[in-house]
């Protein structure tokens, strides 16, 4: 039953993108414009690059940087959010500063970060972490604050041990908001990953796209853009599964991100 329903949903979601790709394929087949090579040509480049040597040279470093940056953002964001929530006065004082940092477009901070951390992958990781940490931090803080006072009172009246309070009360209670923060951070992380690779880098998908553009290898360029779209989409879908697992305790009708 559920498998069948899932399959129907998948078909429903897929028909439009599939149709568009088919249209693109045939409409572009006779294209002679150097800027818009036929899809068949882009596809060839896609296979050649991403199932070939560029996978190891560009995709692996990009993904590694993204994973590391997001991992840092997650640990620091949740950890700092938790601490600020545990010490309300510190939270009150810090919040305007946090909101300010969050408001700075992370791309604008890239030059400073590259000076601090170097232009190697450390710089890329730092940039991703810097951009992605704020939504997670602020949502953790806010999520813990919004836990119902009655729940806090019960925890207090039973003298729940601090580590159990954190793992069984505060973090799960804030999880509906933490997951929203992570979703935002994921999107920001991908943007900064690409942006920082385009800006300074010797490897990575962003770097690949820029070099392809500068050398007029436009099929290669499009293949890189296509790959980034696929990666972004796959991350979103994959994260949806994780999110549903994290919030498995919620009634189905109210789960999901808003």
């Amino acid at each position: 039953m559920r498998v069948l329903a899932g399959l129907r949903l998948l078909l429903w979601e897929l028909w439009l993108p599939v149709a568009l790709v088919v249209v693109w394929w045939f409409v572009s087949a006779s294209s002679t414009s150097p800027y818009f090579p036929p899809l068949s040509r882009i596809w060839e480049a896609f296979v050649e690059n991403w199932f070939g040597p560029s996978f190891r040279v560009d995709v692996v470093p990009s993904m590694t940087n993204l994973a590391l940056g997001l991992a840092f953002a997650l640990v620091v964001g949740v950890g700092a959010g938790l601490l600020l929530a545990l010490f309300p006065l510190a939270g009150e004082i810090a919040e305007p500063f946090l909101q300010f940092f969050r408001a700075i477009p992370a791309l604008a901070v890239l030059p400073a970060l590259f000076i601090l951390f170097g232009t190697g992958s450390t710089g890329n990781v730092a940039a991703i972490a810097f951009g992605a940490v704020w939504p997670i931090l602020l949502n953790t803080l806010d999520g813990i604050r919004s836990i119902h006072p009655s729940v806090r009172l019960v925890a207090r009246s039973y003298r729940i041990r601090p580590y159990l309070l954190v793992t069984n009360v505060l973090l799960p209670g804030a999880m509906p908001q933490i997951t929203v923060g992570i979703r935002t951070s994921l999107a920001i992380g991908v943007v900064i990953m690409v942006g920082s690779e385009m800006y300074v880098s010797t490897a990575g998908i962003g770097h690949f796209v820029v070099v392809a553009q500068q050398t007029f290898a436009l099929a290669d360029m499009w293949s890189g853009i296509l790959l980034l779209g696929v990666i972004g989409y796959a991350l979103n879908v994959g994260y949806g599964v994780i999110e549903r697992w994290l919030l498995r305790w919620q009634p189905r009708s109210t789960s999901g991100s808003k």
């Binding site: 009655s150 009246s157 039973y158 041990r161 009360v169």
Partner: protein, 265 residues
């Protein structure tokens, strides 16, 4: 009374909103012996929950003090458990029923097997063994309240505080839970302080009924319930002593309404 009181209130008063705020409780003196069941009755909004939060160590009284087992408290003491009125929100929505009951038992040096045993026992006592793996939202309001009761029982407190614990269950379940409470109280030898709106319930359960009333609320009267031996829903409630106590409590509540209120209840 020769033994140290299990719970003692000395000149307890609560004023909300600072010195110029609203005085809710004034000069409450009350001494509750070990193994006693005491019910607190009074009009809605009179300050019963406030009083019980003070006894639980969750709220500092503005004046006076609370002694549990002879020592003044400033924080929730370890020998005490509270079943609060706001049952719908006191279970952790993200923990299954069994884990909700287990949470207070964790981190205090109890072996996992002992925890399991206590959780299973408490859930079977309230008739919710099959619900152990459900999430709270999958249960009805009355079932959630029974989970909260099971959590308190599994904790095995010396003093059990209950704030309108049976308000959301049907009459039949309510009667069963009342008898269950009496049985447990006898078997485990715990002290119970219970807040209720229901005069019959207060007389049926109590050794003494404490009537609070007026604004600010004072202890209006303490009614002794001279019914000894095991109580029973049918015979006890037909007992002339029961009926006499009920009349006394009712008239005391009514009198407190007529006298003390400046604002309508």
């Amino acid at each position: 009374m020769n033994a140290t009181p299990a719970v003692q209130l000395r000149d307890l008063g609560v004023t909300y909103g600072g010195a110029t705020g609203r005085e809710v409780l004034r000069g409450i003196d009350l001494s509750i012996a070990p193994n006693e069941i005491v019910c607190i009755v009074g009009h809605s909004g009179i300050g019963k929950s406030t009083l019980i939060r003070c006894i639980a160590g969750l709220q500092r009284p503005t004046t006076g003090e609370v002694l549990i087992g002879g020592t003044a408290i400033t924080a929730p003491p370890a020998t005490l458990a509270l079943v609060s009125q706001d049952y719908g929100r006191t279970l952790m929505p993200w923990l299954r029923v069994g884990e909700n009951v287990r949470l207070p038992l964790r981190g205090v040096g109890l072996a996992r097997a002992v925890q399991d045993e206590r959780v299973a026992e408490a859930l079977s006592v309230v008739g919710l063994v099959e619900a152990a793996r459900s999430y709270p939202w999958q249960l009805s309001g009355g079932m959630q309240q029974r989970v909260a009761i099971a959590r308190a029982l599994a904790y095995r407190p010396q003093v059990l505080l209950m704030d309108e614990p049976f308000a959301s269950v049907d009459a039949q379940t309510r009667a069963e839970l009342e008898d269950l409470l009496l049985t447990l109280q006898r078997d485990l030898g715990i002290t119970v302080v219970l807040v209720t709106h229901d005069v019959d319930e207060s007389v049926y359960l109590s050794d003494r009924v404490v009537v609070v009333g007026g604004r600010p609320a004072l202890v209006r009267e303490i009614v002794e319930v001279p019914i000894s031996g095991v109580r029973d829903q049918l015979t006890t409630k037909a007992d002339p002593a029961f009926i006499a106590c009920r009349t006394q409590v009712l008239s005391s509540i009514q009198a407190s309404k007529d006298s003390g209120s400046a604002v309508g209840g």
